[in-house]
Amino acid sequence: MSGNLLLKIGWRNDDNLWLGINPEAVEPIREFIASIGSYKLSEENVRNVEAWLKKNVSHFYDQRYNSNLPRFRLTKFWNHLGDFDLIANRLIMNDYCNPGGDSVIQSMQTSVSNTMRLYNAFQLYG
């Protein structure tokens, strides 16, 4: 029981949802998405998913930087971003999102994409 307002109950253990996902990726993705449970939807914070993620799933991010950069050692999440996108889209397709939940899920996808883009730029240009 998650008490989650943005996602409906049952998504964590729906076999249909996790079909074909790399077993190594399941737990990190579940943990990352489950963090949405403490997200309070409002006009003010819907655009601030990035900062909110860094604070609420802090071990996914390198805290030495102001911007969101991935932290690889504590989670395998960043190695399976294709699976994360697939799960995020399945949550939307299979009606697991309550009103507003699908927008936050999409914002999480954008944030993750931006994080990796920034990381790659950081690697290239320092």
Partner: protein
């Protein structure tokens, strides 16, 4: 050491022209999957040379079975080339339906109708995600496709059956 052009290295009979003229008709080479299904070059190729309306094409890959049924083709301004078409996607895994009769829009040209319907953001560089493959479920929920949205079961199933990449972007400078 003398250099040789690639043309010189190849035997004459191994050169495969990409176009063949025969009895006044131009034939373009195609690629096929091992199971005989045609690999389509683009959404336009699929719309023009793909299945007729109501026809189903299928592929099986491991425990997964994919069906793509051609739906209605949409035309504009008396053109004989559709600017978008509907396809119905069904996917089974181990005999159990995974997604059933999901509508997917294959957008061939970004006409005004297509831009408005799918809220396409053209000419915005990497900020725009004008995917050619637009699943209906995003529209049903009032969403538009964003980064990562192409990685969904409906687009993947279509991509596996037709060979068209799920990331295919609508071309804007097409003649």
């Amino acid at each position: 050491m003398t250099s040789m052009a690639l043309e010189d290295r190849l035997e004459n009979d191994t050169v495969s022209p990409s176009r063949l003229e025969h009895n006044g008709t131009t034939y373009i080479r195609s690629e096929y999957f091992e199971d005989g299904n045609r690999i389509f070059f683009s959404p336009l190729d699929f719309a023009l040379n793909g299945p007729n309306e109501g026809t189903v094409i299928m592929r099986t890959e491991g425990p997964y079975k994919y069906k793509v049924k051609m739906g209605k083709k949409h035309y504009e301004n008396n053109s004989d080339v559709p600017f978008m078409c509907e396809v119905i996607i069904t996917m089974e895994a181990n005999g159990r339906p995974r997604c059933k009769d999901q509508t997917l829009w294959v957008v061939i040209e970004a006409t005004d109708v297509a831009v408005e319907k799918f809220r396409l953001r053209l000419n915005q560089g990497s900020a725009s995600y004008c995917y050619s493959l637009q699943p209906q479920f995003f529209l049903d929920k009032g969403l538009c496709m964003m980064t990562g949205s192409d990685n969904n079961d409906v687009s993947i199933a279509f991509s596996i059956v037709t060979g068209i990449p799920k990331e295919h972007i609508i071309l804007e400078d097409k003649a």
